[in-house]
């Protein structure tokens, strides 16, 4: 019973993370593209609205996308570490 639960946990952690991670990363990529668009707009048209948008909303979106990336990578590293830790124990007779 214990052996079965551990196997299931390893399978869940290994299988579930990438799908959720990819969704988050796709969202982060879209946010980053929007932020970069705002920054480019402020360079092309350096008037108050674009410049203030780039320096405020653009910065927030860009930071959010990078933090999301770091969180996903951190989660992935933890997931692999957890899986590696559980695997040898699960293989024990």
């Amino acid at each position: 019973m214990k052996h079965h639960l551990r196997e299931k946990l390893v399978a869940n952690v290994s299988g579930m993370a990438p799908a959720r991670a990819m969704r988050l990363l796709r969202a982060a990529s879209v946010l980053a593209i929007v932020a970069l668009g705002m920054m480019m707009w402020s360079l092309v048209d350096p008037s108050p609205a674009p410049v203030l948008l780039a320096l405020s909303v653009g910065q927030v979106l860009g930071t959010l996308s990078f933090v999301t990336f770091l969180a996903v990578v951190g989660w992935d590293v933890y997931r692999e570490w957890r899986a590696n830790k559980l695997k040898p124990e699960a293989d024990e007779p």
Partner: protein
Amino acid sequence: MHHTSPLTVIAALLAIISVVLLVRFLVLRPVFNRNTKISLLLGLGVFPIGAAATTNVEGYEATQKRQFCGSCHVMTPIARDSEDAKSAGLAARHARNAFTGENNCYVCHADYGMFGTVLTKMGGMRHVWLYYTEFRSMPFEEAKDKIHLVKPYPNTNCMQCHSTENPGWLAEPEHRASLEATRAGTVSCASPGCHGFAHPNMVPEKDRGHTPAQLLPRPRIDAGAAHSLGLVDGGAP
């Protein structure tokens, strides 16, 4: 002529590379492996941070330019007066000075001191807020009667460049007569009796008749001041 700075080119290149990497990730949907992580580290981290840093510098510099200040319609006539080669207003005379040049709005209106830049930017945000909440739909002729400085223009801003210490400045009898008042800020350099209005087109027509002292025939420099300035040969070896 519009000048594209190297920073703008660098920011644009970094942003384009980032977008290419991110679009590739979105379209191809690769497996989340080591290569994908490195690609995203570049596309979401390294290149965008570089683009943001350069854009921040460019944005900060853009906020100092007269073109930026004059892009709100209630400021456009003031900026145009600055650019008018025939204008005798203080702002226009400073715009013709290479030191202040196209940054003349910022150079004259920026607060100085340790937190001067921060305070100036906070004041600028207030201007943006007022523009979008009050003046955006208001014609200039109506707005110019409502726009006013939040506090009297401080002479300390003028004194950042015009120290009131140079012999040439002290040689002017009017400067000597009002020296203490000028330094104390009780007499404004930009008052009608002294150097005139900074933005004549913001002043009601009836009040514009005054000719700034700077535009009147120059007073004669007395012998002592002329000697101290080295404008006369004192016969010394």
